[in-house]
């Protein structure tokens, strides 16, 4: 197993360095510097937001990050059937060597856990530690945070891994699992049918320890529950793993002509958009996207409620804040659109990379605006904030489009890979972090100074619209000479 994991780690590293070269190794340095700067400016940040709000955001981000990383199980068939053009992976070796898929997929889980904790969480915490003499943060508190972040990340990864394995077994089981997960959140959170702390043990762990509290007994309990949850989910995933390798002969009605007609509004992009929608439908990506988009939103809304009421720590997230969050999560969806199928065959026909990017942006708009609107409307009703719904929707629409156009401009058709390139990651971080911080902080002061806050938010949105237009035009210049295999 150790050899397998070592080889898989090498493989993952080489996959990333294939596209961004040695610059990939500077990615953790960027994360380190980013965390260091954030820590040094923490005092100023704490004027507008509370430490518990920031902590919640950090742990929720680790969880969402874990959801994204753990979804590799969705790729099971593609890995095994070599659906990445000419690429093949160690995980597919059981078809040729005396080794089981259970072993290679467990290896993949361990590999991704090690790789991404080392790549992001370790340098981030190192940044906080280095800044500690200047910030006054206690080293023990930072280490507690690291443990909580790793637990959140691993819970996210395990849930996602389990969900994706279920998906490979049966769509019905997957839908049931996702529904049960959401139901648990509602039953435990809103209706208090059972002890809510059982659902978010990593959060409970963090908020039981300094600087928030000093209840070490509860912290130990939360730690135990977190670990039990992670191991149970991994165990179940491995036990339930099964890939059906019988050559299928799945027949489908020809829907492409109908889809092309349906999206004729997309004019010269109708063929590409129609084809993308056929891909989404047949690959089951819509379900996967919902899993990695809706689940983080439900988690975020629930955890803020939990910290507010369950732990009695005030975090004032309002509907405008959620509008911005929905917008920023759009990156996940664009990333999924780039993972449905290899785009290699486009190089054989007169189609350019910018055309495919723009087609996927159109698909993104068709896909998300409905779900995102529904989410923001529901949140506004639940929070009794229908009066600021107009602003929340405006924030959601504009940040969604801005984030996805910006990601498309920076990463083209290889979002997952290029985001690990230091240069690209640096630009992505600045271009997403600045508006994110502005909108988050301004949303917090919406109730205390509504006129200033709303007009400042509108100013930020105007800047985002301008930037979106520039980036949209820039996609053609930046990507027109790129091949589909780059």
């Amino acid at each position: 197993m150790r050899t397998l994991i070592r080889l898989m780690l090498k493989e993952e590293l080489r996959t990333h360095t294939t596209y961004s070269g040695q610059r990939f190794f500077t990615f953790p340095i960027v994360v380190f510097i980013f965390a260091l700067i954030l820590a040094l400016f923490m005092e100023r940040l704490l004027v507008e937001a509370s430490l518990s709000q920031l902590m919640l955001l950090a742990l929720a981000s680790a969880f969402i990050y874990g959801i994204g990383v753990g979804s590799f199980g969705f790729m099971g068939r593609q890995y095994i059937e070599k659906r990445y053009g000419t690429q093949n992976y160690i995980v597919a070796m059981p078809s040729l060597l005396p080794i089981t898929y259970r072993k290679t997929f467990l290896g993949l889980y361990i590999r991704d856990s090690i790789f991404y904790i080392l790549l992001v969480l370790v340098p981030a915490v190192a940044g906080l530690l280095v800044a500690s003499p200047f910030t006054g943060f206690k080293i023990t508190s930072i280490l507690f945070f690291f443990v909580a972040a790793v637990l959140s990340f691993q819970i996210g990864t395990s849930i996602s891994f389990f969900g994706s394995i279920l998906y490979n077994r049966s769509s019905l089981a997957f839908i049931t699992f996702t529904s049960v997960l959401i139901a648990l959140v509602i039953l435990g959170g809103a209706l208090k049918v059972f002890d809510i702390q059982l659902i978010v043990p990593a959060l409970g762990f963090e908020f039981s320890l300094p600087p928030f509290a000093a209840d070490y007994q509860s912290a130990l309990l939360f730690l135990t529950v977190s670990l039990a949850m992670i191991f149970a989910l991994i165990g179940l995933s491995i036990a339930l793993m099964k890939f059906n390798f019988i050559v299928r002969d799945s027949r489908h009605e020809s829907i492409l002509p109908k889809y092309i007609e349906m999206f004729s509004l997309s004019k010269s992009y109708k063929n590409l958009v129609g084809k993308e929608f056929v891909d989404l439908r047949r690959s089951g990506t819509i379900g996967k996207m919902s899993f990695s988009f809706i689940l983080p939103l439900v988690f975020l809304s629930f955890t803020s409620w939990f910290v507010n009421t369950g732990l009695g720590i005030e975090v004032g997230f309002n509907t405008v804040f959620y509008g911005a969050m929905v917008g920023f999560l759009g990156v996940l969806l664009y990333s999924w659109l780039n993972n449905v199928d290899s785009a290699d065959y486009y190089s054989l026909i007169p189609v350019t990379v910018p055309q495919v990017i723009r087609a996927r942006l159109i698909v993104f708009l068709f896909l998300t605006l409905g779900i995102s609107t529904a989410f923001v409307v529901i949140i506004s009703i639940m929070n009794n904030e229908v009066d600021i719904l107009w602003l929340a929707l405006l924030v959601m629409f504009i940040t969604s489009i801005y984030m996805v156009v910006m990601t498309a401009y920076l990463t083209g058709l290889r979002t997952n890979t290029f985001l690990f390139d230091m240069g690209i990651m640096g630009r992505f971080a600045i271009m997403s972090f600045l508006p994110d911080v502005c909108l988050t902080i301004l949303s917090f002061s919406l109730r205390t100074d509504p006129l200033f806050s709303a007009s400042s938010i509108i100013l930020v949105l105007a800047i985002l619209i301008g930037t979106t237009i520039i980036l949209l035009k820039g996609i053609e210049t930046k990507w027109r000479r790129t091949g589909f295999d780059i």
């Binding site: 059937e81 000419t86 299928r248 027949r251 084809k275 891909d279 199928d341 054989l348 026909i349 091949g483």
Partner: protein
């Protein structure tokens, strides 16, 4: 028909990808049908057909939908008739509604060939087109290519199956370690070396 032959790793596929606008060269120039490929790759792709080395039609489209998609992108009229012709030629009717992921390698290869010819191009680039085809369809494709050439078409063929290539090509080049080591009419080349295979072995050995 122009044949390009060479050992594994000699640079055949790379050259073909440069000529078809799939890959940009670092130096030098490439033009196809009088068009600079580096400057106007889309103009070249509109005129030519390509059968790649690895058969890779889109995973989730059915056979019919893939050809329909290519035909729409290429703005072809009378799509159904043209798809029907290729379905008849390769006897693909039973696979019409099967998604490409679930087709055999041979079936996928047939689709790639059909998609390269569906817009009736004057020039096609074929990278190992006979691979994965059974002997019946190898012969059928050979006959089709002969007709295509007789009808005024031009084909650029990369292949390791020298017996077939010898029958089809009138001009050829042998490439080794990224360099052309022999070029000319196949008759002249064969006269010099006896058989294409002998010439190939001799030149490649020398090159290596």
């Amino acid at each position: 028909m122009f044949g390009l032959f060479g050992p594994n790793g000699a640079g055949k596929t790379t050259l073909l990808r440069i000529l078809t606008g799939q890959l940009e060269q670092d130096s030098g120039s490439a033009s196809v049908m009088g068009i600079d490929v580096k400057k106007k790759p889309m103009d070249v792709k509109k005129l030519i057909g390509i059968v790649p080395e690895v058969e890779s039609p889109p995973t989730y489209l059915t056979s019919y939908e893939y050809l329909y998609f290519v035909a729409k992108i290429r703005n072809i009229d009378d799509i159904d008739r043209k798809i029907g012709q290729w379905f008849d030629f390769f006897e693909l009717h039973d696979s019409k509604n099967v998604i490409c992921r679930d087709l055999s390698k041979g079936m996928r290869q047939k689709l790639m060939i059909a998609s390269a010819f569906i817009h009736e191009p004057k020039l096609v680039f074929l990278d190992e087109p006979f691979i994965n085809l059974d002997p019946i369809y190898q012969r059928k494709l050979r006959e089709f290519l002969t007709e295509y050439i007789d009808g005024g078409g031009t084909a650029f063929l990369c292949s390791h199956i020298l017996e077939i290539a010898e029958k089809l090509c009138d001009k050829a080049a042998i490439i080794s370690e990224g360099k052309i080591v022999a070029e000319g009419s196949l008759k002249d080349l064969v006269r010099e070396g006896g058989h294409l295979e002998d010439l190939f072995m001799r030149l490649v050995k020398k090159g290596g």
